[in-house]
């Protein structure tokens, strides 16, 4: 990973909320632009919160160990592996998932580009890949192809759709800057 690459599991430690638990606690956060509350035990991951109580199953569970990137979501615009991010660490933060990308039935440019470039096969890694690229495009309007590859180095694709994923990302970047 290059020095300028986007940090993963990027909740800075000085940003952590005070110790909570051990019993279930109330948390509130913003998910896809709407307020959300949950009552859960503090060891629950953000992924468990999203897929469980919030019913947002678009974010996928694969390794549950921060190895594959399938569960990538944005927390305050930064990509994180939600399987190794505690839900309580997202108190008061802004979480975005694949379900929140399209607005009023309009697909996000990255989503459009994935369809145009056949940037998926089975589609299981797709939500994570898309979120990683969305995060890159928010920080870098005109990424290089190398930036694009580095943005998805942490997102494994077993079908091997990488060539088209990078193409789709670059195409979305061009579209966004037009």
């Amino acid at each position: 990973m290059g020095a300028d690459s986007i940090p993963r599991c990027s909740i800075p430690s000085n940003d952590m909320p005070p110790f909570r638990g051990p019993d279930a606690v109330d948390i509130s956060l913003t998910v896809n632009g709407q307020g959300a509350t949950a009552h859960l035990r503090p060891q629950r991951s953000l992924l468990e919160l999203l897929r469980g109580p919030l019913g947002l199953t678009g974010t996928k569970l694969v390794c549950n160990a921060g190895n594959c990137g399938a569960c990538t979501v944005l927390v305050d615009d930064r990509p994180v592996y939600s399987c190794i991010t505690l839900a309580v660490a997202c108190e008061g933060k802004r979480v975005e998932t694949i379900e929140g990308l399209s607005k009023d039935g309009e697909l996000h440019p990255v989503q459009e580009a994935f369809i145009d470039h056949d940037a998926y096969q089975c589609g299981f890694c797709t939500p994570g890949q898309v979120m990683s690229i969305v995060a890159l495009l928010r920080t870098k309007g005109k990424p290089t192809e190398d930036d694009m590859r580095r943005a998805v180095t942490g997102n494994l694709c077993r079908c091997g759709a990488y060539v088209n994923i990078v193409k789709a990302g670059m195409s979305a970047a061009r579209r966004a800057t037009k």
Binding site: G58, K60, Y120, P127, G160
Partner: protein, 761 residues
């Protein structure tokens, strides 16, 4: 219905020929005329289910949530071999939230792959199923597993292939550990070796490769007292239904299996799993829906793998031709009962006159093999195509030239039947041009630094992919003129919905967006397993017939509605066209109200007298760092001869994916097992290294794109497996060209490269 006939069909599946019956009626469609103009076929179409995939709305088995659903988890053997003497599950059952516990002493019999029960008396690998718990939530289920007390009697074990074939290894079965799994003899190899100018011998090894489909194996089962509905991540909904029938002894009419979307299978999701039977047993017993989905760790212990192999090849040449080959292979099948035969390519790829091949299945205390994308052929082609390069070098013939001498034959050497279409030499020409073969130098060339060497190599691919019956489809018009295409196949990530819709739209003469495709459900007409590169070639021709049938019926009805003679009507771009008049289909269908036209189509048998195969060649350019042992694959040219290309965009995706997965096999993927403990040390995605985006070279994809008119009415053959077959050999041959050393063990890790380089220093 008149005119039903039953005929025999011979179809190839993963290197073996099977005879099956096909019910046929009426007549098959002729293949499209040469030079036919198409609206849909051959066009790069975006996936019709793309929006679901990019918005997270595609429902995978993991995403199925049902009211009152329980979560099942499996207790797995911590020992590679042990007898289960007793199980006490009282503490687990007493834990609040636990709804049920199953193990061999309380579970009903449930037949599974030749065994009477899913919980073995003697567990035979780490990860073998011992017990299962159903609970209100996953956490409770996991806690309950820890409360189950099992008394094991430990038994001697062996996990390593080469240890298991020795006399000192513990005997795991009455017949020992090594079993015959096929042999072939052609001509007089012994004499030909005696008469040869040059003989090359080599021992090749390939490591165990783990599928690591991103969606793990899993099922959700629901029993409503009458119908068992199972959602399963599978390559064959009908196969799962049959497996559930055998295990639960329910009539097929009471089992429904659904797979809407699935997150990869690569051969490992061919039928019912113990997890599905566990979910179904609990669902019936507890009258609650039950989910049983494997963790990544379980996935890598108990959900299949590509067998490690040990292969010995002896190959001889005389007067610039290959005159004899002897290929013997041993495969670590774990507890599997079959072998993915690595000698398949040796038996069929070239016109070797004198040949002996033998394949052995070796039983060990490791997880069972399952089919893994071109099972056997990936392993065997690595050895065969490496050996041919070694021989070519020994006799001083260009390796591509030597292959051309044996690849021109239009006859399948195993069956002596003529190929329906073979354009392998054209693949060679295209690939050689794209990689710059004429610039290849014996001994390689200097790389980007003094300690880096560059080289070029190639490998050849043969595979089946002709498909065959039975496969069915139905096509019906709704009252608004939209069309529903149903087939009992499933999309494993290849774009099945899209290509089937293209075939249907073409035949009907309607726009692609009018067609909705319903697959992945046993409520649809039967479809075969999505494996063996057979989906398109099996289901596609049936879809074409179903669309034709629907069109003919609809035109008949339109003749009545429009009061125009049927002979004057045709269907074109969503309209019923007669002399001078164009009426939208929707206008006619509206008048028909709910009188529904349903077209049916079935796959006709393959031609008896022909051998249907796919061919291809990969060319690789690599740079090898002789200080670090790293292999950098710079470019792969993949050329395939697979008949007609229905969708060039999804076809190219499959080839790119095959090459990338092959590079994992070639360079980095290797299950590591601790022999003394029998444990898999890298059953995760951290230490088991699958390729990332940074490992991807430039990939050039080319097709001969000639319809195979004699194969089936679509002229298309399969593409799933061909692109993973020859890459590793192409890379190994390029490395040999670059460095002068031969890597005979896949994956070709830096350590193995350095080891090989030291040999010549």
């Amino acid at each position: 219905m008149a005119g039903l006939r039953v005929v025999k069909s011979r179809d190839e599946f993963e290197g073996e020929i099977f005879e099956s019956l096909a019910i046929i009626q009426g007549s098959d469609l002729p293949p499209h005329a040469a030079g036919a103009e198409f609206e849909e076929i051959g066009k790069a179409r975006k996936r019709i289910d793309g929006v679901q995939r990019v918005t997270g709305r595609a429902t995978y088995t993991q995403d199925v949530v049902l009211p009152g659903m329980l979560h099942a988890r499996v207790l797995r053997s911590p020992y590679p071999r042990a007898r289960v003497r007793a199980i006490d599950s009282k503490k687990a059952e007493a834990l609040p939230g636990v709804r049920g516990v199953l193990h061999r002493f309380n579970s009903p019999k449930a037949a599974f792959r030749g065994e009477e029960t899913i919980f073995r008396d003697e567990v035979r690998f780490i990860g073998d199923e011992v017990a299962a718990v159903a609970a209100d939530d996953v956490e409770t289920a996991v806690r309950a597993l820890g409360l189950i007390e099992v008394e094991y009697e430990l038994l001697p074990h062996v996990t390593d292939l080469e240890e298991a074939i020795t006399d000192e290894a513990p005997r795991l079965e009455d017949g020992g550990n090594v079993f015959d799994a096929g042999s072939l003899k052609r001509g007089e190899a012994r004499q030909a070796f005696k008469d040869a100018d040059a003989v090359v011998e080599g021992t090749y090894r390939t490591s165990t490769q783990l599928h690591n489909s991103l969606e793990s194996h899993g099922a959700v089962a629901q029993w409503d007292g009458q119908i068992l509905t199972v959602w399963e991540s599978t390559q064959h909904v009908f196969g799962v239904r049959e497996g559930l029938r055998a295990a639960l002894l329910l009539p097929l009419s009471q089992i429904r299996v659904i797979c809407d979307y699935m997150g990869g299978g690569f051969g490992s999701k061919g039928g019912v799993g113990k997890y599905s039977i566990i979910a179904a047993l609990f669902a019936k017993q507890l009258s609650r829906p039950v989910r049983c989905v494997l963790t990544r760790h379980e996935e890598n212990l108990a959900a299949g793998n590509r067998s490690a192999t040990l292969q010995k090849i002896k190959i001889a040449a005389k007067d610039g031709r290959i005159t004899a080959i002897d290929h013997t292979s041993w495969s670590n099948a774990g507890q599997g009962r079959w072998v993915a035969n690595p000698t398949g390519p040796t038996n069929t790829l070239y016109d070797f006159a004198n040949l002996t091949t033998k394949s052995y299945r070796v039983v060990t205390n490791a997880g069972s093999l399952s089919a893994f994308r071109a099972p056997g052929y990936v392993e065997g082609t690595f050895a065969l195509e490496s050996a041919i390069d070694e021989l070519a070098e020994r006799v001083g013939v260009d390796p591509l030239t030597l292959r051309r001498r044996h690849a021109a034959s239009q006859t399948d050497p195993r069956t002596t039947k003529t190929y329906s279409l073979k354009r392998l030499l054209e693949c060679y020409s295209i690939g050689a041009r794209e990689i710059g073969w004429s610039k290849r130098r014996a001994g390689g060339t200097r790389g980007s630094a003094p300690h880096r060497r560059r080289g070029i190599g190639m490998g050849t691919q043969i595979w089946g992919g002709g498909g065959g019956p039975p496969a069915y489809a139905t096509v019906h018009f709704n009252s608004d003129g939209t069309v529903i295409l149903r087939a009992g196949t499933q999309d494993i990530g290849t774009g099945t919905r899209t290509v089937l819709a293209q075939i249907c739209a073409e035949e009907l003469g309607v726009d692609l967006d009018r067609i909705s495709v319903r697959i992945g459900d046993t409520e649809g007409p039967y479809g075969p397993i999505s494996a063996g590169s057979l989906t398109l070639a099996s289901v596609g021709p049936a879809v074409r017939l179903a669309a034709r049938d629907a069109r003919e019926q609809f035109l008949g009805a339109a003749a009545g509605v429009l009061e125009v003679p049927r002979t004057e009507l045709r269907m074109e771009r969503g309209h019923i066209v007669s002399k001078g008049a164009r009426t939208p289909i929707s206008e006619v269908s509206k008048k028909l109200e709910n009188n529904t036209v349903i077209g049916k189509g079935s796959r006709w048998p393959n031609p008896e007298s022909l051998a249907i195969k796919t061919f291809g060649a990969h060319f690789a350019q690599v740079e090898v760092d002789t200080l670090t042992g790293e292999i950098f694959v710079e470019k792969v040219v993949a050329v395939h001869d697979i008949g007609r290309i229905v969708n060039p965009m999804t076809a190219a995706s499959q080839v790119q994916g095959g090459v990338i997965q092959a590079l994992g096999f070639a360079l980095s993927e290797e299950r590591v097992v601790d022999r003394s403990l029998g444990r898999v040390m890298n059953a995760d995605l951290e230490w088991y290294k699958i390729p990332t985006v940074l490992d991807v070279p430039e990939i050039v994809v080319r097709f001969t794109d000639r319809p195979d008119r004699r194969a089936n009415n679509l002229g298309a053959k399969g593409l799933g497996e061909p692109p993973i077959i020859p890459t590793a050999a192409a890379v190994a041959n390029a490395v040999a060209n670059a460095t002068g050393v031969r890597l005979r063990h896949a994956p070709m890790t830096p350590a193995r490269v350095l080891e090989a380089l030291a040999v010549i220093q």
